[in-house]
């Protein structure tokens, strides 16, 4: 399993395409069916998927754990969202916390974790 993170527009998808050859079979967390992720080669916008799971009263942590168990070769792309001020609104706060926890689970299970800044990917776990 691979995990690619970094801020919005930091070059994550491009990195996945150029370095891991992932161009097709990418589920978009913004709109894909939840179970699509369990068989996809890659999922993008996982932080949005987390938001959608919460909105439908599904536990994102349990979902992420089952994703790791059922699709251990997937590449997960997720924005780093934890920097900045703690949101005033409760739902935003819970979402951000859930993203943090899910990200830790995904990074923990991944053989390689890439973090991007200015389009530059650094392996912060494992080796490229």
């Amino acid at each position: 399993m691979k995990f690619i993170t970094g801020g919005a527009y930091s070059g994550k998808r491009r990195f996945a395409a150029e370095r891991f050859g992932i161009t097709a079979g990418v589920a978009d967390g913004k709109e894909c069916a939840f179970n699509e992720v369990l068989t996809a080669k890659c999922v993008n916008n996982y932080h949005i998927l987390v938001r959608r799971l919460i909105a439908e009263n599904k536990d994102p942590i349990a979902f992420t754990e089952s994703l790791c168990a059922e699709n251990p070769d997937i590449t997960v792309i997720m924005d780093e969202v934890g920097c900045g001020i703690v949101p005033v609104e409760r739902t935003e706060r819970l979402w951000r916390e859930a993203c943090g926890r899910c990200g830790c689970i995904l990074a923990g299970k991944s053989d390689i974790v890439i973090r991007l800044i200015c389009g530059i990917g650094t392996a912060i776990k494992g080796e490229l």
Binding site: A8, Y9, S10, D79, G84, I117, C118, G119, I120
Partner: protein, 172 residues
């Protein structure tokens, strides 16, 4: 030679940029892109002026169109900062995509200077979905950062004053 310095707000990017040029013995130019508007920007400008005083920089205040700048050969340029420049180029009479214009002006400044240090900003890692024009700004800023980092020799991320080399090397 381009050195791109990035990082979050108030993480020591300017100090690092000035430190990099400390050992430069030629003419040093500081391109200030922040429009003096409102108390907070005036305070920031004052703070940066004090930081730079005695370090031999000549200040060029230029808020847009950096390709109009003319400096003597073999000079060093410190451009601060991309966040203001991008906003200035983007939000004029109408909202425009400033990426090409800014990249062209960076390449121009690189071509006329001995060494170019650019201070930029990390935007887009707070998870907040802003209004569309703000999201466009974040997108343009990151695109500019990605393209610049691609042709820059050195890319340094500042983390609470600690420089982390992302590409090339940190040379004082």
């Amino acid at each position: 030679m381009i050195t791109l310095i990035t990082g979050g707000s108030k993480c020591g990017k300017s100090s690092l940029a000035e430190k990099i040029l400390d050992g430069f013995f030629g003419k040093k130019y500081y391109i200030a892109t922040m429009r003096p508007y409102g108390r907070e920007s005036l305070e920031a400008i004052e703070r940066h002026r004090n930081m730079r005083s005695g370090k031999g920089f000549e200040t060029i205040e230029k808020y847009t169109g950096l390709d109009e700048i003319v400096i003597p050969e073999n000079s060093a340029v410190l451009l601060e900062c991309m966040g203001n420049l991008c906003a200035n180029e983007m939000f004029g009479d109408k909202i425009v995509n400033p990426v090409k214009k800014i990249i062209d002006s960076i390449r121009y400044l690189d071509s006329i200077s001995e060494t170019l240090v650019i201070v930029t900003n990390e935007t887009g890692a707070d998870g907040i979905e802003y209004a569309p024009e703000t999201m466009a700004y974040i997108s343009h800023m990151n695109e500019i950062n990605c393209i610049t980092a691609d042709f820059a020799e050195n890319v340094i991320e500042c983390v609470y004053g600690i420089p982390v080399v992302r590409k090339g090397a940190l040379c004082y």
